[in-house]
Symmetry: C2
Subunit: 231 residues, 2 copies
């Protein structure tokens, strides 16, 4: 179980923790700032104050370095979602959607650079092993929303006349755009989410989930839990 990562050389794992963390931090910063192709190993080593040759003794090449931080990213994502959800398992479908949203916000708050890397990879075509890496994340989407929707559908909590895949797509679009807007002001539609407090953010999420639940048309606002009577 000592095999922490196949991307890093043994030399790297033998490094003192402090140095290892510094290298990871700087590497993540550079990839987040510039994406894969434009990220400069020269800048990384300069900022770290180490020789380029050293970096190449820790990692085979640029690709291995990148894969390493991406692996870190996937670990952190899964950890954060698990932590944010596992503690209390609400039964209500929309509450659970909300929990995922909040966990996601927590993640981008805590690890903004990692999230930037993910966004960059999404729209940078010539990243090595891109498909494999993205498939490994498929951020929150199918693994979580899939079972959630199917269960709710079977229980009759959500409508049955729309394919589950379509519902997942909408939830995913909603979540992803919410995160993107949170990080990139251009995408928040003027909501100013970037500067919101956690409390305001939670209120916004509630507001939006309300619309998702009842639609653009319905005006009445009844209980926030469970489904109200049909009709």
């Amino acid at each position: 179980m000592k095999k922490k990562s196949s991307s890093a050389n043994a030399t790297f794992n033998n490094l003192p923790l402090e140095k290892r963390e510094a290298i990871i931090r700087e590497t993540v910063r550079e990839f987040a700032a510039s994406g894969y192709q434009k990220a400069s190993l020269n800048i990384i080593v300069k900022n770290l104050g180490i020789a380029k040759g050293s970096l190449y003794q820790y990692f085979r090449n640029k690709e291995a370095l990148f894969c390493f931080v991406f692996e870190e990213f996937t670990h952190l994502v899964k950890q954060t979602v698990k932590d944010g959800i596992g503690q209390e398992r609400s039964a209500d479908f929309f509450d659970r959607v909300k929990q995922v949203m909040l966990a996601a916000i927590t993640f981008v708050d805590r690890y903004p650079d990692y999230f930037q890397i993910y966004l960059k990879v999404l729209f940078e075509h010539d990243v090595p092993r891109r498909e494999e890496l993205l498939a490994r994340v498929r951020l929150f989407s199918r693994e979580y929303f899939g079972p959630l929707c199917e269960e709710a559908r079977e229980k009759g909590v959500i409508r049955r006349d729309i394919p589950v895949a379509t519902l997942i797509f909408l939830l995913d679009a909603f979540l992803d755009r919410f995160l993107q807007g949170y990080v990139q002001p251009y995408l928040d539609g003027g909501l100013g989410m970037a500067k919101m407090s956690r409390k305001k953010l939670t209120a916004k999420i509630d507001e939006m989930i309300k619309v998702l639940r009842d639609g653009f048309v319905k005006e009445r606002d009844k209980g926030s839990k469970g489904q109200r009577g049909k009709g």
Copy 2:
């Protein structure tokens, strides 16, 4: 009125139409493939079979070349949306949302490379004049959905208990993700939109708008305004 563009030098505008189009086409292709920073002028001139010096007589520098194609992009967007909507002005709110969606699909079908450039700019930070360019587009979002929502809200067609900005955000998230999924298979949530026919795509849009209108909960297909899809 002859001043077509401030980004291109006079020399470029004097060029024969055919050559001008070839240059634009290849430039758009390269920026779409590689984003701003990684796009190579050397590759552009090689593919065009012209000398690098020539390109620099048409455009001051890389930035001017990029701004030129981005200006083209904004023109084409506005044109396409106008064409797709102006002809028949449906009164129904959701029909008009659908029309925007279809116009957007038409755009990315017709000008996929221009759309790629837009996506790249969205997630590439060090693009010159990025904020200005993105603000100029604010793709479909506020300029169109804003008035639409406000009108519908005043007429009582959509709920009044949610701020318009929030509704716009949801519509925008929906549209943007739909387009991104259409172009990038990773983001379609397994729907396989990339390979859908126009007819199937339209059906999917109907399906999703139905959810937006009535929410995740309602199963019955009634609606407030009556006609649903094809009646």
